[in-house]
Subunit: 279 residues, 2 copies
């Protein structure tokens, strides 16, 4: 399959998506996409990449799963900010365009349709090595309501959604939860790198510490998996209180924010043992 | 150099950039960047990638040159829409983080500062193969004033900026020209793939044909280089007329837009012979 045929397929798959709010004035086919966010919104931007041999793109997963997964990771970042996803851009560096590749693109396009996201541009090139897929997701959030990592204060309770450590093949980005938390949570982050690492990220950006209890953590498998495995794509958030279900998703209190900058698990220091790559 | 050290370097290099209009509310360090474009603007988005062994990233160019070049390509797309660049995001897949890499990042950061663009996020990962650098540039344009590829009409004159075929080591994105063309040009595209290919792109999106004259083309080297070499990053635009200099840059009339869909050079069909990869 030539690059030209691949681009023709992408144009067909991308189609034309009407956005829930705002307008995509110009999508695939020009030097830039042109987008009018809805009035009174701030723009959210997140980028992410999947690399063959490092992340499980290609081996151990179907093309459709990997395509959906790449977009799901970006959507999870939008959810963590309390935002609504709107546009996505995909850059692909591929050793060859085969059946796996077309399945990947179909999985990516189906996930975009499922979440009302317009596929608005990108680039495909050949690489003499492992495949690299890079994605940018743009979203919007009502002005002043974005959830950040930096708002946690001593005394805030710490919550997580769902069950941790399962490493699901299919990511369910917690967009409904994020929206519901807009005026509720003081801080929020998505669990992509593992609870131990992401709790440190949140504490560092907020300038606080934390104490969590192992027995309170909703584990899908072992405690170590829940703490360090990563790839949960649940939300970790702080606030005065939270209902036990938010937008239909389990929410569990696992500890409390403290002064200082240390993170403790059952009275012992908790080390960040997950991934670290974003900046 | 570890990924953590690389991320620390990137955070230092990115710094904090004040934007000419609008505001970066939240940059590097959270799940998403948060941006407030200026009122009355549309958002522009373009993505691009450089691949070791395919494009001349690493071999044949210094790190600083390649870093500046990657950003310059994105800025050129913003210029082609008549926009102002505002934010940039960089994803890097690297075999190792060496001196070339840090020079690349310094070149990238210096180019961002030079054009008032805030480096607002990204991702670095290891790859067991050629390096891949993927960039997303966001810009803004006054509502309704974006230049597109689709506005050319029969009778419009065809113009190019600068001299073609030189393949300069340093890209000078024609941002001032793009701004000056906002209410002047009927269509515009940047010359990244070569005049022969990009003129076809513009004609296809506008549903028109074109006739150009070889003797009118401002060549830096041979005619073939000017037509097919690509990587010029000058602007090709159409309109009723243009001054011979725009924002200090040479502008040359090379032909006229016609009915139909064919492109002619001196009475012979002109084939698109450059690159083709964006969608």
């Amino acid at each position: 399959m030539t690059e030209t045929a691949l681009i023709a397929l992408i144009r067909r798959l991308a189609g034309r998506n009407r956005l829930a709010t705002g307008r995509l004035d110009l999508g695939i086919g020009d030097d830039c996409a042109v987008w009018s966010p809805a009035p009174g919104r701030q723009v959210l931007v997140t980028t992410d990449q999947l690399i063959e041999g490092i992340h499980y793109i290609r081996r151990g997963t179907t093309g459709r799963q990997a395509g959906a997964r790449l977009l799901g990771r970006g959507l999870s970042d939008i959810a963590a900010m309390g935002g609504d996803p709107r546009l996505v851009f995909l850059n692909l560096a591929l050793p060859q365009a085969d059946g796996w590749t077309t399945a990947f693109l179909r999985g990516f396009a189906a996930e975009a349709r499922r979440f009302g996201v317009a596929w608005a541009g990108g680039d495909v090139s050949t690489v003499r090595g492992p495949a690299v897929a890079s994605v940018t997701v743009l979203g919007e959030v009502p002005r002043g309501q974005a959830l950040t990592r930096s708002g946690a204060r001593p005394g805030d309770r710490i919550f997580v959604t769902g069950r941790l450590g399962a490493m699901p093949a299919r990511i369910t980005p917690r967009l409904g939860v994020g929206r519901a938390l807009r005026n509720v949570a003081t801080a929020c982050i998505d669990l992509s790198d593992g609870l131990s690492t992401d709790l440190h990220h949140l504490c560092k950006e907020s300038g606080v510490g934390a104490v969590i209890r192992a027995e309170a953590i909703p584990c899908a498998g072992t405690l170590d998996q829940a703490l360090n495995r990563g790839e949960d794509y649940e939300l970790l958030f702080t606030g005065a209180r939270a209902p036990s279900r938010i937008a239909g998703v389990l929410a569990t209190e696992i500890g409390v924010i403290t002064k200082g900058h240390r993170v403790w698990l059952d009275g012992k220091p908790l080390r960040p043992s997950g991934w670290e790559h974003s900046f």
